[in-house]
Amino acid sequence: MSSVLEVKNISKSFKDYSSEFKRILSWFGFNFKPAEEHQILRHINFSIAPGEAVGIVGQNGAGKSTLLKIITGTLKPSEGSVQIDGRISAILELGMGFNPDLTGRQNTYHSAGLMGYTVAQIDAIIDELEAFAEIGEYFDQPVRTYSSGMQLRVAFGVVTAYRPEILIVDEALSVGDAYFQHKSLNRIREFQEQGTTLLLVSHDRGAIQAICDRAILLEKGAVIKDGNPEEVMDFYNALIAEKENSKIEQVATEDGRVETTSGTGEAVVADIGLFNHKNERIEYISVGEEVKLKVIVDVKDTIPQLVVGFMIKDRLGQSIFGTNTHHYDKIIESVSAGDKLEISFEFYMNLGVGSYSVAVALHADDTHIGANYEWKDNALVFNVINTSKNEFVGSSWIDQKIEVKYVK
């Protein structure tokens, strides 16, 4: 498979010497051991094909920025190599190199120059860029009078003035207003269709799953997961909740789903199922049907408080609805080892037609960030079908009363 970006066995460590003289002498072959070496990245390997959209996720300090800097070339890897086929544009920090006293137009020339474009190349696209930014006469005003959103518009215009082979987008985009976010996202998609590879760094699960067709999870400088975004994001989610003695497990079920389980294990989900009003376990549910989600919990260890929650996700992994017993003031206190609990959530399935998955979580407080006993993604899959309602589209069912009147 041909690849546009090939990261081969990259490691990066920052070296501290007891004296900087030793560092300088070490360039000339003197063998001084650094006093301390901070390993930021360890043996990173991946290759990305043209047109792929890859999300890079990881907790703060996992090495995402360092990796991006190595890919863009501002940092050199201590080991390994990066092979890039084509031009790379990075939206790491927007307005980099913008001078507040120059106008948007002058800054455009200047910062496009910083990206290596010639004056003639910028001349060719300056009008289009001005139109794209849509900031009117501000384009010829000093940048210091701009709002941050306006700066973003010009900066994004410059970075995407020409289609790069690789486009790196950091979270910078979230600054813009909704209109411009759509506009910039459209441009990114356009590039992607023409074969641009996209690297998106974000903590936003929704964004990663909506845009990317692959995700790479970095943890403590190593790639610990590389694959389908939903699966990786589930793992990442579990990772955030990871505490001591906690383990994360991903198993593939018969029907091809990947079930992610994590937690400390004081309480575990023994069973989970959807039941209809006749108390029959069901997998196909009609729109609007009354159902019961039953969760059976096995308590393995005495715990002061137990909160049980669930989340329904659509096939893209986007959250549709979730809540927990804490929010409904059903406090379950001091359960002891050996207890078995059944918690049932009763509701009407007012969702649109499609396939959904359910994640369950057992934890001590209202979020799973504190003590996390068990978190299970993809614990259950069900399908919503329309058997009794009028035709509709979308992810939720909203009952309608339609009235038509001649007002004239």
């Binding site: 920052f14 070296k15 900087e20 003289f21 560092r23 300088i24 360039w27 000339f28 800097k69 863009t72 070339g73 501002t74 940092l75 050199k76 790491l92 920090e93 980099m96 190199g97 001078n99 507040p100 006293d101 120059l102 002058q106 020339y109 200047h110 120059g113 910083l114 990206m115 290596g116 474009y117 010639t118 004056v119 000093p142």
Partner: protein, 264 residues
């Protein structure tokens, strides 16, 4: 090496635009704008010319003008200013642009070239103003002006060679910048800019000539005051010195290139 030059060449537009940007932003919010570019050097020249011509009226041997001494100082000064401007700024050129170096990938050597460019523009303005004032003093040295590019070339080479060498080291050992600033001040007084080399006892002359700037500054004085070609013999040593430091600075730059962004 060839790759490095090609990379910098492809960034020529950025270099030119950076120089323009620097001047633009310096004057953009003042009423007189670009006029300040001329007024600053003019003030400097006038101070030397007017004040010194009143205080120091002693004639210099071999020069008819009664303004000989101010012209002497100005001739040396214009060269020294170019030298110290470039050297002083290249010491901190990487530190000052740390943010850029950490976030953008571009040939780092563009930065010292921007420094050279904007210092050269400053030099040209100072030079033109000086020449105008010379005209008013009735002194128009044009016979040896064609030697000036050589002197400017040497000055820039020496300044950037030393500046880049210590500028790279300064990224890692910040004290170097401080030490060099002090050295630069001593250096000025070790160079015959304000005084004539003839006041130094003959037996210490060799020491004075150890300073590579001595020969270069004397060249400026020859061209601008004595209206004659510089003594090429005393330019040989500064040229070799320049070459040495240019090579040294490129060597250390190449070695440091990879780790520079790590510590910035």
């Amino acid at each position: 090496m060839k790759q490095m030059i090609l990379a910098v060449w492809s960034y020529r537009f950025f270099i030119v635009s950076s120089i323009k940007t620097e001047f633009r932003s310096r004057f953009s919010r003042s009423k007189f704008g670009g006029l300040w570019m001329v007024l600053h050097p003019l003030a400097l020249v006038l101070i030397y010319a007017l004040i010194l011509s009143q205080i120091m009226t002693a004639k210099l041997p071999g020069v008819a003008s009664q303004y000989a001494y101010p012209i002497y100082i100005l001739s040396g000064m214009v060269g020294w200013t170019l030298f110290s401007d470039i050297l002083g700024r290249s010491l901190t050129v990487f530190i000052d642009n740390a943010n850029l170096l950490k976030k953008m990938s571009f040939p780092k050597l563009a930065l010292p070239l921007i420094t050279i460019g904007s210092s050269f523009v400053n030099f040209m303005l100072l030079f033109v103003m000086m020449f105008v004032v010379f005209g008013f003093l009735g002194h128009l040295p044009y016979h040896a002006l064609h030697w000036l590019p050589l002197l400017v070339f040497l000055t820039i080479g020496l300044a950037i060679g030393i500046g880049l060498f210590f500028g790279v080291l300064n990224v890692f050992i910040r004290d170097i910048g401080q030490v060099m600033t002090i050295i630069l001040q001593f250096w000025f007084w070790l160079t015959p800019v304000v005084y004539m080399s003839s006041i130094i006892p003959k037996e210490h002359h060799a020491l004075l000539m150890l300073n590579p700037m001595t020969g270069i500054v004397m060249g400026y004085q020859n061209v601008l005051l004595y209206d004659k070609a510089p003594d090429l013999n005393i330019l040989i040593y500064p040229s070799l010195f320049t070459l040495l430091f240019l090579v040294l600075s490129l060597v250390i730059f190449k070695k440091a290139n990879e780790e520079m962004a790590d510590v910035l």
